[in-house]
């Protein structure tokens, strides 16, 4: 056995892929060959270091597949598949208008609303999407966005009208009270003037004449 062949056999042995006969031969060889044993031990140490890099959890992501590739499939996509994604899109849409915390893990989206922190809403959906379907969802998304914007504008307009009505009523009330106040001041002034005239007349009548 050449050195290269021996090394190749060591690799096969360490991964347990030798057949029974080859394994027995290799173990007999290792029992009598110190250099081969050292090589095997070094291999094991190297593999142990490599093994320290453990698998990571992949990030969640949608996979967009071309529609024409999907054409080979005879049955249409299940309704729940689309509706599940629709729920997810609708949930995302709401985020544009409300301050909501969203986390996504393993195909499950968790929505936590700021007014209901103890009751997160979850929606699961699949990760494969055809391009045409994605476009349709985008269109639906835009329509829903537009509807929400229009609804928001209507609400704002109604609120402005109500505000203006309240403001006008308040202004009229203020004017009425000001008018009433002015009238009260006038009446008081008139009474004071009349009283002053009466007092002046009395004073004039009781005052001794200097000409006498």
């Amino acid at each position: 056995m050449t050195p290269d062949e021996r090394n190749a056999q060591l690799i096969t042995y360490i991964y347990g892929e030798l057949d029974e006969h080859e394994r027995q031969e290799m173990e007999a060889f290792l029992a009598t060959n110190g250099e081969a044993r050292r090589s095997l031990e070094e291999l094991r140490r190297t593999l142990a270091v490599l093994g320290a890099w453990e698998d990571e959890t992949p990030p969640f992501g949608l996979t967009f597949v071309p529609e024409d590739a999907a054409a080979g499939a005879r049955r249409p996509v299940a309704w729940w598949w689309a509706s599940g994604l629709g729920v997810a899109i609708a949930a995302v849409l709401v985020l544009a208008f409300l301050r909501i915390d969203v986390t996504m893990s393993g195909g499950t989206m968790t929505v936590r609303m700021n007014w209901a922190e103890d009751t997160p809403v979850t929606a699961s959906f699949d990760s494969v999407l055809t391009e045409n379907r994605f476009v349709r969802y985008q269109e639906a998304y835009l329509e829903l966005t537009q509807d929400l914007i229009e609804a928001s504008e209507l609400r704002q307009r109604a609120a402005m009208i109500e505000f203006a009505r309240v403001l006008e009523a308040r202004r009229e009330e203020d004017l009425r009270q000001i008018g009433q106040g002015v009238r009260n001041v006038g009446q008081i002034a008139e009474r004071s003037y009349l009283q002053s005239g009466v007092l002046l007349t009395r004073w004039a009548q009781t005052r001794p004449s200097r000409r006498k």
Partner: protein
């Protein structure tokens, strides 16, 4: 359902079966391309590319029993194609100067401290990136993905002896690199 069952279901028109296949494949393929490319964002993109290609080609897969090597072939091709469209990542020969440059001088001067400061993933990732691509692929497929030597040979379309000799060269290179940097299993396990 097994992988082959899901593939057969997809070929019969059950497109939803592909969702289940993606769930099965995603962790494996993501980690495969992560170790190949060495970058998380790129790995996420490459995994997506792999599934897009798989979706297009799945109906033509003649032997669903070999899907485990087939999906790795697709992932590898996607990774190689992506590599061609950007500046190729330089590989270095495993000599002392290049190792120092690739791993950073601090690893050589303070291996324990640096290994404990750094992520194990980062250290081993950089070690793998020093390997020539053909060697990096076989060690990832064997050591991390657990493919049989025959499966690797089929996936790479090379002989099984070529796979074995590449693996042996990989381990020789890595053994030298780990010794030079005083990287041991105990040190990394402690860090992990």
């Amino acid at each position: 359902m097994t992988e082959a069952d899901l593939i057969n279901a997809f070929k019969r028109g059950d497109r939803g079966a592909f969702n289940d296949l993606v769930r099965l494949w995603h962790p494996r393929i993501y980690n495969f391309v992560l170790r190949y490319a060495g970058d998380r964002d790129e790995a996420a993109d490459l995994a997506q590319q792999t599934f897009i290609r798989a979706y297009s080609a799945l109906s033509k897969l003649e032997n669903p029993e070999k899907s485990s090597t087939w999906i790795y072939q697709i992932a590898l091709n996607a990774s190689r194609d992506a590599g061609r469209t950007r500046q190729r990542r330089p590989t270095v020969d495993v000599d002392d100067e290049n190792i120092a440059a690739a791993l950073g001088d601090d690893v050589l001067s303070r291996p324990d401290a640096v290994a404990h400061e750094r992520d194990v993933r980062d250290l081993l990732n950089r070690a793998l990136q020093t390997l020539p691509e053909e060697q990096r692929v076989v060690v990832i497929m064997k050591e991390y993905e657990g493919l049989k030597l025959r499966e690797i040979a089929d996936a790479l379309d090379v002989s099984i002896n070529t796979v074995k000799s590449r693996l042996y060269r990989v381990f020789e290179s890595l053994k030298h690199l780990f010794e030079l940097c005083c990287i041991t299993e105990e040190m990394l396990r402690y860090d992990a």
